[in-house]
């Protein structure tokens, strides 16, 4: 019986092969073995959402998912989603509304918010609050985070996109 397993998965568009311990959860694998530091670890109990990543197109808690479970699957982190522009208007909006302070929760917040915008494009402010209550912001920036997400819902509903605020910086 070997406790190490050979796995292969696609991470941010690239095929990755590795040999890892079964007990290693996905975010430890991403951070330690692949040096992707976007997904963070807070509680490792599923409560805080700092570890949020996407697997096969859905957000999950990276601390409650083993790297071996991701064998054969497609994994996306904030790094990959930043590069391909999926999060661009949300990121713009977070900047515009000053929705991050230390930034520790931001990668999880962005991924959770992106899934809300995709699944519930007509979400109300109240529904935005409910949805992101699964992600802890230790700097307690909720008000501006909600503002930022609502602004993206509004502009998308009008068929527009936010103009970059940092283009000239």
């Amino acid at each position: 019986m070997s406790l190490k397993k050979k796995i292969s998965m696609t991470v941010n568009g690239q095929l990755v092969n590795a040999e890892i311990e079964s007990r290693k959860h996905l975010v430890d694998f991403l951070r330690e073995d692949l040096h992707l530091k976007g997904p963070h670890l807070g509680c490792e109990q599923g409560a805080c959402g700092a570890c949020t990543v996407k697997v096969d197109g859905q957000i999950i808690r990276g601390c409650l998912f083993l790297a071996v479970q991701a064998n054969g699957k497609v994994v996306e982190t904030v790094e990959g989603l930043t590069k391909n522009g999926v999060l661009a208007d949300l990121q713009e909006s977070f900047l515009r509304h000053n929705a991050m302070q230390c930034g520790f929760c931001s990668s999880g917040m962005l991924l959770a918010a992106a899934e809300l915008i995709e699944k519930q494009p007509k979400a109300t402010r109240e529904q935005v609050r409910e949805w992101i209550s699964g992600n802890y912001c230790r700097c307690t920036g909720y008000h501006s985070i909600v503002d930022a997400i609502v602004a993206v819902l509004d502009t998308r509903a009008k068929g527009q996109t936010n103009k970059p605020v940092v283009a000239h910086a």
Partner: protein
């Protein structure tokens, strides 16, 4: 915290999973969504030596209508239930309850079967399965057996599942046109476990409710039905007087148990608050 070391296997068919479970004995643990199991392993509350990942097993997947029953595979996730049109049509109580389970990232992985097998008295699915008279379909070394939800939840985190058995699916009678339901939970924050909750269904004709099923959760060691209150309401014209009687009866027949933050008295009170709101909404 990190979990202790363990081995991991992913069988392709049910029979293989059953033999692995038998071989593994006490040291083996099934993993479905892992949303409860991995949290307990991370905290080292449990140290199994092998995890058997059942997520490839076809028999445990999918939502289908089989005759007059809605069959929900054990591996169906909370999100799939939340988004399913079949569920919305044939078991609307489940659709209403799903968004109350944790948050989307957890609902995307956590499963119907995992929740039922874990038997948490504060969880939504055990209570809903009791209310909807679900039948649990279980496979073990001796083949298939079926057991009603009523006989499935035995005690705190204890079901009638044997350690060498796998919950494969459940069947729920399809809702008909007269069916009305009420689902509500009082929680400190959306997504948290309820302080107290009620999953109720009935057949409505004008202002009369029949075949009432009222199940409270986060109240006792298992989900609990208010059978006396149900009998009192069944077939009677529902007015303020009857509602008050039903509330008093439910408070009387159920003995609430305190949790870390809420006293038994508070929960006892909430039983009545929930039932009153539920009856008024169902008859409205």
């Amino acid at each position: 915290m990190k979990s202790a070391a363990f081995d991991y296997v992913k069988p392709k068919v049910l029979q293989e999973a059953l033999s692995l479970l038998e071989q593994g004995g006490d040291d083996a643990r099934l993993i479905a969504g892992g949303q409860t199991l991995l949290a307990t392993l991370n905290m080292r509350l449990s140290e199994p030596s092998v995890l058997i990942d059942i997520t490839d097993l076809k028999e445990l997947q999918g939502i289908t209508v089989v005759g007059d029953q809605l069959r929900i595979g054990a591996l169906v996730t909370h999100t799939e239930i939340e988004d399913s049109e079949l569920v919305a049509k044939h078991a609307p109580l489940l659709k209403a309850a799903a968004p109350h389970i944790a948050h989307r990232a957890i609902r995307n992985l956590g499963t119907w079967g995992g929740s039922l097998a874990y038997g948490d008295p504060a969880a939504e699915w055990p209570a809903c399965s009791l209310t909807l008279q679900a039948t649990m379909i279980i496979h073990g070394p001796a083949g298939e057996r079926r057991i009603s939800a009523k006989d499935f939840f035995i005690d705190l985190y204890t079901t009638s599942l044997e350690p060498d058995e796998i919950l494969v699916a459940t069947e729920i009678p399809l809702a008909n046109k007269q069916e009305v339901f009420y689902f509500h939970e009082l929680a400190r924050r959306h997504g948290d476990y309820a302080v107290a909750g009620l999953a109720a269904v009935a057949q409505k004709q004008d202002d009369v409710l029949n075949h009432c099923a009222f199940t409270f959760f986060s109240i006792g060691a298992t989900p609990v039905m208010a059978t006396k209150a149900q009998d009192l309401v069944n077939g009677q014209k529902l007015n303020d007087e009857l509602i008050a009687k039903a509330v008093a009866t439910a408070r009387d027949e159920i003995e609430a148990i305190a949790d870390i933050t809420n006293s038994a008295e508070a929960k006892q009170h909430l039983i009545g608050v929930l039932l009153e709101r539920g009856l008024k909404q169902m008859v409205a």
